[in-house]
Amino acid sequence: DQQVKQNSPSLSVQEGRISILNCDYTNSMFDYFLWYKKYPAEGPTFLISISSIKDKNEDGRFTVFLNKSAKHLSLHIVPSQPGDSAVYFCAAKETNRDDKIIFGKGTRLHILP
């Protein structure tokens, strides 16, 4: 039962270019979406989030776009830096269920020199 899908297990991007990580979801009750970044041997780190009432949220080099009609969101990283190499998890929560976050399987981003 994959409510949050990250269909690309890995992605390689040249340093300085834009990284675009994609995420699809199936549950129309999701009202809040998050991106987490994970380095090896560490726990996931919160990166950026977006409420379903918005279609874009920006924080420095990171921008998340939400297309509710397509049940799709994406994370843009511009410009990509070597320290961005990590696994990125898309996550979501349902309306009135603040405690439970549902994660996707993650996309491993490699930033190439």
Partner: protein, 112 residues
């Protein structure tokens, strides 16, 4: 910067044994969580804990699992009789408000 800590970093146990995984959440946080990640798979929600009781749990969190906040600082996950399939990374998380959760580095549990 305050962070969530977890001990031990790696726990090896025999099938059928009880294990307790320990977490120290960020001190002013009110909500506490356990997640697990089986190797190569997604991070899965296990349980959330607020106001000294479980507020939400997944179907994974069966009678073999329990959580406790025995004092003002620790948050523990107990697995009563471990199975091979319990081998995973277990992440503790905490938050001041729901949703934006801060994760610890994880405990790798290996059941032999």
């Amino acid at each position: 910067e305050p962070e969530v800590t977890q001990t031990p970093s790696h726990q090896v146990t025999q099938m059928g044994q009880e294990v307790i995984l320990r977490c120290v959440p960020i001190s002013n946080h009110l909500y506490f969580y356990w997640y697990r990640q089986i190797l190569g798979q997604k991070v899965e929600f296990l349980v959330s804990f607020y106001n000294n009781e479980i507020s939400e749990k997944s179907e994974i969190f069966d009678d073999q699992f329990s959580v406790e906040r025995p004092d003002g600082s620790n948050f523990t996950l107990k697995i009563r009789s471990t199975k091979l399939e319990d081998s995973a990374m277990y992440f503790c998380a905490s938050s001041y408000k729901p949703v934006t959760q801060y994760f610890g580095p994880g405990t790798r549990l290996t059941v032999l």
